[in-house]
Symmetry: C2
Subunit: 182 residues, 2 copies
DNA sequence: ACCTGAACACCGTTCAAGT
DNA sequence: ACCTGAACACCGTTCAAGT
């Protein structure tokens, strides 16, 4: 790739992170291009869809969540690893306003654009859940996708209105109580 | 109201129900007007916003959910009333594709356009929850809005992809397990 | 009093021309 | 090889003219 093209791609990612952070993932793509100082066509050349831009922004974080799962499983008891990891997933799905919806689609539809990156999370979720199941601390009918769907649902609720951190914590707690067996 | 105006309003509601059902709540309003055989201006005259149209369509159903809460509380033990009512709320939030998002805003923001109709549900949820709390079958820190937020989150997950009824039932079951105390 | 639909605005997306 | 931005398409919303 030519040096100026690479620089443009990086500037676009920086601008997108900034714009998505300030105005949500549905902000105008013209806005993103303008902030990066490039034409709208350049944005489309590098990132043919809004989801492609999102995938580039979230991909590394999803890998981080995979690594977090490994670390938690190595150092914490399974129930605690599950709890901590789910909290991190909820926070991740709140990175940008509106991103929970894209992640939900990615979780449930493996062929979607975010589906590839989400596969990392599905696998991590499955491992965390499997460990909890082996330890007998989780209801046996729960599936990994269930965790991710509920975590995303909570994140989506939180981003959708004046839903403060205390409520988020309580919702996660309710979810965990529902998953874990006494 | 003039007879033709009333007839137009009714035709618009019928067309909106049909169009929202087939294509989701984000279908073009031109589409709704066309199906009703009226100009787009007439749609805007009767229903100044998409949310106003939704409110007219969902208002009666929300009253029905309030009545269902009363009936369940009169005939069922509190834990069962809570379970049944939550299931009905999830189904209600799946009436049209995309409606869970509008209802979530209505639940959490009382000043929103759907907030008025949602007040009925907030009150019904509070009564169902209060009965369960008096019976000591529910965790004491749960709030009525928590129920509605989680139910909406499940409905939203369900409408967002190939999330079948078995998964929906399991998600509701996890939610209930998290709410109820043994 | 109500209805109509042309007109305007806004944004997503493409592509011919330029460097 | 890449960039630009004008051009086109689509849809939401308003409002002057008509009935």
């Amino acid at each position: 790739m030519r040096a100026d093209a690479r620089r443009n791609a990086e500037r676009l990612l920086g601008s997108a992170h900034e714009a998505f952070g300030e105005r949500g993932v549905h902000t105008s793509l013209e806005d993103v291009a303008r902030r990066a100082g490039v034409g709208i066509g350049t944005l489309y050349r590098h990132f043919p869809t809004r989801e492609a831009l999102l995938e580039a922004l979230l991909g590394q974080r999803m890998l981080d969540l995979g690594a977090l799962a490994e670390r938690l499983l190595a150092t914490e008891p399974p129930a605690r690893a599950l709890a901590e990891w789910l909290r991190a997933v909820v926070q991740h799905s709140m990175t940008y306003h509106g991103v929970a919806a894209s992640l939900m689609v990615g979780m449930l539809d493996e062929t979607s654009e975010l589906g590839v990156s989400c596969a990392v999370m599905r696998r991590a979720g499955a491992e965390v859940l499997a460990a909890a199941r082996r330890a007998g601390v989780v209801r046996p009918d729960a599936e990994a996708v269930d965790l991710l769907v509920l975590a995303n649902g909570i994140a989506w609720a939180a981003e959708n209105s004046s839903c403060g951190q205390p409520r988020i914590d309580r919702l996660v707690s309710i979810l965990l109580t529902g998953l874990l067996v006494a």
